[in-house]
C-alpha cells in the first residue's frame, strides 16, 4: 500500500530523517512513534508533499508520491489531519467537509458561474456525502456552526470528517489524541477502528499517547533521531531494547 524507502531529509546541517524505510499494508492501522524531535511529523510532511526529501522514494500503490504535485495528493487517495488542526475557521462544519470533497468534483468555472444542471446535481451530491460523514463522526449538532469557534476535540473530529470526504485510501493522522482527555481518547480509538472497518481506509498515525498507539495499531514503527529503530507488532516493539532505551534512557 505505502512503501517508504530510504527517505532522507536535511534542514541545513540537521539530518531530520536518515534513510527511513518501512511498509504499510492495505487495511492496516500503523502507528509511528518516537520521542520529541525524532522526525515523525517531518516524515508526514514528506508524505503529503509539504517537504521534499533529499533522497529516497515513497511509493503509494506502486505510484511515486514524490512525483505527484501537491494538489493531486488528495485525488490519488492520501488524506491527512494536522497536529494543531488546520480547518477553514470561517466556514461552517458542513462547508469544511464539502471542501474535502473538492478533488472529487470536476465542473469547470464557466459551468459553476452559470449554475448548470450538472453543477447543481454535483453540489447536492457533495452535500449529501458531507452530511453522511458529519453523522458518521457524530457532529450533527454543529453542522452549520463556523468551525473556528468550536472546542478543540470537536474541531479534530471535523478535520477527520473533512479528510474522509476525499475518500482517501490512506489516512495520515498527526497526533489525533493530542489535547484530548482520557474519555475522548477512548472515543477516538473506537472512531479510528470504525473508520478503518467501514470506510475502507488504511491508517498511519503519529502519536505520543502510548496506550492508544499500542491498542489500536496492527504494527508500530519507532523512530529516534531520524532513524528507524524498530518495526513490528505492538508486542514486539514494546519489548525492543532499543525502544526502551530511546524512551527511558540508559543507566549512566
Amino acid at each position: 500500500m505505502l512503501s517508504v524507502r530510504g527517505v532522507t531529509v536535511r534542514f541545513g546541517g540537521v539530518v531530520a530523517l536518515d534513510a527511513v524505510s518501512f511498509d504499510v499494508f492495505p487495511g492496516q492501522i500503523a502507528g509511528l512513534i518516537g520521542p520529541n524531535g525524532a522526525g515523525k511529523t517531518t516524515l508526514f510532511n514528506c508524505l503529503s508533499r509539504l517537504y521534499q526529501p533529499s533522497a529516497g522514494e515513497i511509493l503509494f500503490q506502486g505510484q511515486s508520491v514524490l512525483a505527484t504535485p501537491r494538489h493531486r495528493i488528495a485525488s490519488i487517495g492520501i488524506g491527512r489531519t494536522f497536529q494543531n488542526v488546520a480547518l477553514f475557521d470561517r466556514l461552517t462544519v458542513l462547508e469544511n467537509v464539502m471542501v474535502g470533497r473538492h478533488c472529487q468534483t470536476h465542473s469547470s468555472f464557466a459551468a459553476n458561474a452559470l449554475r448548470l444542471a450538472g453543477v447543481v446535481a454535483e453540489q447536492a451530491g457533495a452535500q449529501a456525502r458531507a452530511m453522511e460523514l458529519i453523522e458518521f463522526m457524530g457532529l450533527e449538532d454543529f453542522t452549520h456552526w463556523p468551525s473556528g469557534g468550536l472546542p478543540f476535540p470537536i474541531r479534530k473530529r471535523v478535520e477527520l470528517a473533512r479528510a474522509l470526504a476525499a475518500k482517501p485510501k490512506l489516512l495520515l493522522l498527526d497526533e489525533p489524541a493530542a489535547g484530548l482527555n482520557h474519555d475522548e481518547v477512548h472515543v477516538l480509538e473506537a472512531q479510528i477502528r470504525r473508520v478503518r472497518d467501514t470506510q475502507d481506509v488504511t491508517v498511519l498515525l503519529v502519536e505520543h499517547h502510548m496506550s492508544l498507539v499500542m491498542s489500536v495499531s496492527d504494527k508500530v514503527i519507532t523512530v529516534n533521531f531520524g532513524r528507524k529503530i524498530a518495526d513490528g507488532t505492538p508486542e514486539e516493539v514494546r519489548r525492543d531494547p532499543e525502544v526502551i532505551r530511546a524512551y527511558l534512557g540508559t543507566a549512566a
Binding site: S48, L50, R70, H71, R72, I73, A74, S75, R80, F82, A86, L87, F88, D89, R90, L91, E95, M98, V99, G100, R101, H102, C103, T105, S107, F109, N112, A113, R115, V119, E122, Q123, A126, R162, A166
Partner: protein
C-alpha cells in the same frame, strides 16, 4: 426635504459604485493580503474598452458584457504573469508593482484614447422617476445593476463548489492545497472577478463623472474608505460600507463642508476608522497566537 431626498438618492448611486470598487479591493485582499492600488485604473481602462466598442457600433449591453469578459481575462493574466512570479517577494515590492500598474494603465489610456474628457452613454432612459428631478432612471439603474451583481456573486460563493473552494483557498492556502484545491488558480480567478466587478463600476460611473484617464482616482479613495468602514476582509461589509460612505459623503458635502472638500471627507473617514476602529464595522479583530 426635497434636497435631502435628492442627496440621499445620489448618495446611494455613488454608494453602489463605491461598493463595487470596495468589493474588488476586498476580494483581492482576503485571498492575498494585498491592496490592489491599480483597481481603479484597471476599471477606467476597461471603461475605455467599452467606449471604443460602443464607438465601433456595438450595442450597449453587448459592449457591457464583452467588457466584463475582457476585464476578467485581463485580471487573470495580470495575476498569472505579473503577480504569480512575485509570490514570495516582500510586500514593498508588491506595493511598487501595484503603483506601476496604476501609472501604466493611466498612461496607456491617455496614449491610446487621449486625455480629453469623453461622454459615456447610459443605457437607462433620460429623465427621472418623480418628474421633479429627484431620482433619475440612471441612478435607479446603477443601484439595480449593482444589487443584481452582488446577488449573483453571493450565490456563486455560497452555493457552488468552486465558490467554496475559492473561500477555502483564501482562508488557509496550504490546507486547501492538501484537499486538492489549486490555490494559485483560485487567486487568478479572484483577480479576474475583481477586475470584472471594477469594470462594471467604471461603466456605471462614467456617464456621471465623464470618461477620462483620471476618473477613478477619487472613486478609488472612496472605495478604500468603504472597504475600511465595512472592515477590510469582509465582502458584505464592503458593500454596506460603500453605501454608507456614498450617502454620508453627499450629506456632509451638501450641508457641512461644501462639495469642494468632499474628497477630503473620504480621507477623514480612512484616518478615523484606522484610529478608532481598525477592524471596521463588520471586520474581525485579528488575534495572533504566539
Amino acid at each position: 426635504m426635497e434636497l435631502l431626498l435628492q442627496q440621499i438618492a445620489s448618495g446611494l448611486t455613488s454608494g453602489a459604485i463605491y461598493a463595487c470598487v470596495a468589493l474588488g479591493l476586498v476580494m483581492i485582499y482576503v485571498s492575498t493580503d494585498h491592496i490592489n492600488f491599480a483597481q481603479g485604473e484597471m476599471a477606467m481602462f476597461s471603461t475605455y474598452i467599452a467606449w471604443a466598442l460602443i464607438q465601433a457600433g456595438v450595442s450597449y449591453w453587448v459592449a457591457f458584457g464583452a467588457t466584463m469578459v475582457i476585464a476578467f481575462a485581463g485580471g487573470l493574466l495580470i495575476q498569472r504573469f505579473i503577480l504569480k512570479p512575485l509570490e514570495h517577494a516582500p510586500v514593498l515590492a508588491l506595493v511598487v508593482c501595484f503603483i506601476a500598474l496604476l501609472s501604466i494603465f493611466n498612461s496607456m489610456a491617455g496614449v491610446i484614447w487621449s486625455f480629453t474628457v469623453k461622454q459615456f452613454p447610459s443605457p437607462f432612459p433620460k429623465g427621472d422617476l418623480t418628474g421633479a428631478g429627484l431620482v433619475s432612471y440612471h441612478q435607479i439603474g446603477v443601484v439595480g445593476v449593482t444589487v443584481v451583481m452582488l446577488g449573483l456573486l453571493t450565490c456563486f460563493f455560497r452555493f457552488t463548489t468552486l465558490g467554496l473552494a475559492m473561500r477555502a483557498a483564501a482562508q488557509n492556502a496550504s490546507s486547501a492545497r492538501l484537499m486538492g484545491v489549486r490555490v494559485s488558480w483560485m487567486l487568478a480567478l479572484g483577480w479576474g472577478m475583481a477586475a470584472a466587478i471594477g469594470a462594471v463600476a467604471g461603466m456605471l460611473v462614467a456617464p456621471i463623472v465623464f470618461l477620462d484617464p483620471n476618473m477613478m482616482t477619487g472613486i478609488l479613495t472612496y472605495g478604500f474608505a468603504a472597504a475600511l468602514v465595512g472592515g477590510i476582509g469582509n465582502p458584505g461589509g464592503a458593500v454596506i460600507g460603500g453605501f454608507v460612505v456614498g450617502v454620508l459623503e453627499n450629506l456632509v458635502g451638501t450641508y457641512i463642508i461644501g462639495n469642494e472638500l468632499k474628497l477630503s471627507f473620504a480621507l477623514v473617514i480612512i484616518v478615523g476608522v484606522l484610529l478608532l476602529k481598525p477592524a471596521g464595522l463588520f471586520g474581525r479583530v485579528n488575534v495572533k497566537r504566539v
